[in-house]
């Protein structure tokens, strides 16, 4: 039996939500009482495991814990309780272009962004042609990022992020913001990853895309898993839960 690519056992993530900021020494010294804080539970006792090569969608309304889940998987947050095991290299397409600098050129940003995502400089150099081709920057590679359109910044971010060659790929609602041809390219790339046997976890509000890409879906609501099963079942249950207008 192969080991699961992703395993969550009873994972809870809570944040301290304080009323009134308490991050100056003055307020710390002046407040004799502790600041009024409550615990905000973003994920509540979530357990599931994902087999290698499986594409799983995570759906749910805003604030249901989807992004917290992806950040936990991407090792940005540590769980409050419970255990997370991710086997292999993880790459997150959480938000494209995180860490891009407006004053650096496209090429300089490729190296910086790649390094932030954990690529060695020589790995980037080796894959530079691929990156440049995918990003379609053309003559803009040598101009500062601040002269780019939003679409160009996104393409640049995506083309670097897919070079990480992860075993587990996390995608958070990044594709939906691009135009038609860009989206098509992204789904093509996702298809390639699927063929290569990568594990993909995909967060989206675009339920059509979810059904096209994923075979399994997890519906989160209020930080709890409502349905975890075939993508059609989860999407159907989720749709049924949304009160329709009129």
């Amino acid at each position: 039996m192969t080991k699961a690519a992703v395993e969550l056992s009873s994972v809870t993530k809570s944040f301290k939500l304080c009323h009134g900021r308490n991050n100056s020494l003055k307020s710390l010294a002046l407040s004799f009482r502790r600041p009024r804080c409550e615990e905000l539970v973003a994920l509540d006792n979530v357990s599931f495991s994902i087999d290698p090569g499986q594409t799983t969608a995570v759906i749910g309304r805003n604030g249901s814990g989807k992004s917290t889940l992806l950040r936990l998987l991407g090792n940005v947050f540590k769980p409050t309780r419970g255990k997370i095991v991710v086997r292999g290299r993880v790459s997150a397409l959480l938000e494209l272009g995180a860490g891009l600098h407006p004053d650096l050129t496209g090429l300089e940003n490729i190296y910086l962004n790649g390094a932030i995502l954990g690529l060695r400089t020589r790995e980037i150099r080796r894959r530079l042609d691929d990156i440049l081709e995918f990003s379609e920057l053309g003559k803009f590679v040598d101009t500062p990022l601040r002269s780019y359109s939003n679409g160009m910044v996104m393409r640049l971010g995506f083309s670097v992020a897919v070079q990480v060659d992860p075993d587990v790929l996390l995608i958070d609602e990044v594709i939906a913001v691009g135009d038609e041809p860009f989206q098509e390219k992204c789904y093509e790339k996702i298809g390639e990853f699927q063929k290569a046997g990568k594990t993909i976890i995909f967060v989206s509000h675009d339920l059509q895309a979810v059904q096209k890409v994923a075979s399994r879906a997890i519906w989160l609501s209020g930080g709890r898993v409502m349905v975890d099963g075939m993508v059609e079942d989860a999407v159907w249950a989720y749709m049924a839960s949304i009160p329709r207008e009129g």
């Binding site: 991050n23 947050f77 910086l112 954990g118």
Partner: protein, 286 residues
């Protein structure tokens, strides 16, 4: 801590890229580039030279050279701390999205300021042989040792303040005030001999306090470092009279430099642990 260091080593290319970014962005769009950042210390050194020579009537030949030899490392200390203080906070967006060793941020800034110091010292040597026509001594070969100790010292302090500033934004103001005080408490604009002279000839201080205070003054790693830079780069200054007392060059007390090295290493280890213990909480500070 070792596993953290291994992880940081795995991300060494990130540190390199962050250093490159910092140096590129700092001097973007300016023709003079690097020289702009030299102009500030040069102007300050010129002003302090005038104050010391004309107003305080301290007669040391080539006083500017003695000033610069300590002022450039002082800038390394000051800029490392100021840059590091908001290094984590400034990248808050990034921290919430991507995993990478958080210490790459302060570490890269201290490195980029070290590179800056090296460039500034090259200019300093050119100045030394052209304007005062001073000789360059073989002791100047010890310069990398001093810079290494100071690098570790700066790094240790940077770990503390970059971390604390995430939780308490007052930190960077405290750092600014602290730097101001340290500037006068360390031999930057004056030589250590002057501090010794003032302390020993003070009429207000009880005699019993003088020796311990002098020891305390020398234990400040910045004193040992800045004094060290002067001693290895420049000739001993000739004896002169100040307020009726003879003031002559003191030999370097290498023991205090050893203590400074120990303090620096200890500070860096404790600072790194302090930082590591809190670094995964950064992303959750909303």
């Amino acid at each position: 801590m070792l596993s953290d260091l291994r992880e940081l080593y795995k991300y060494r290319d990130l540190v390199a890229q962050l250093v490159i970014r910092d140096l590129k962005v700092r001097y973007k769009n300016s023709v003079l580039g690097f020289f702009w950042s030299l102009i500030n210390p040069l102007v300050q050194v010129a002003i302090i030279t005038i104050v010391i020579k004309v107003l305080l009537l301290v007669r040391i030949p080539n006083y500017s050279a003695y000033l610069l030899a300590a002022f450039l490392p002082w800038m390394f200390f000051q800029m490392s701390l100021l840059d590091a203080s908001d290094s984590v906070l400034k990248h808050h967006d990034l921290l919430k999205k991507v995993y990478f060793p958080r210490e790459a941020l302060p570490v890269s800034l201290v490195i980029s300021n070290l590179i800056h110091l090296i460039l500034a010292f090259i200019v300093f040597f050119i100045y030394l042989v052209t304007i005062p026509r001073a000789p360059i001594y073989s002791t100047a070969l010890l310069l990398p040792v001093l810079m290494a100790i100071q690098f570790i010292f700066n790094l240790g302090v940077a770990f503390f303040i970059s971390c604390l500033n995430v939780f308490y934004e007052d930190t960077k103001f405290i750092v600014a005030v602290g730097l101001n005080a340290l500037f006068y408490a360390s031999p930057v604009m004056y030589v250590s001999e002057l501090a010794h002279n003032a302390l020993m000839h003070s009429h207000r201080l009880p005699a019993a306090f003088k020796e311990p205070l002098w020891v305390l003054y020398q234990i400040n790693p910045l004193n040992a470092l800045l004094m060290g830079y002067r001693k290895i780069l420049l000739s001993p200054f000739p004896e002169f009279t100040l307020r009726g007392a003879k003031l002559s060059d003191m030999p370097m007390n290498w023991g205090y430099l050893g203590i400074a090295a120990l303090i620096s290493i200890l500070l860096a280890i404790v600072g790194y642990r302090f930082f590591n213990k809190r670094k995964w909480g950064f992303a959750e500070m909303l």
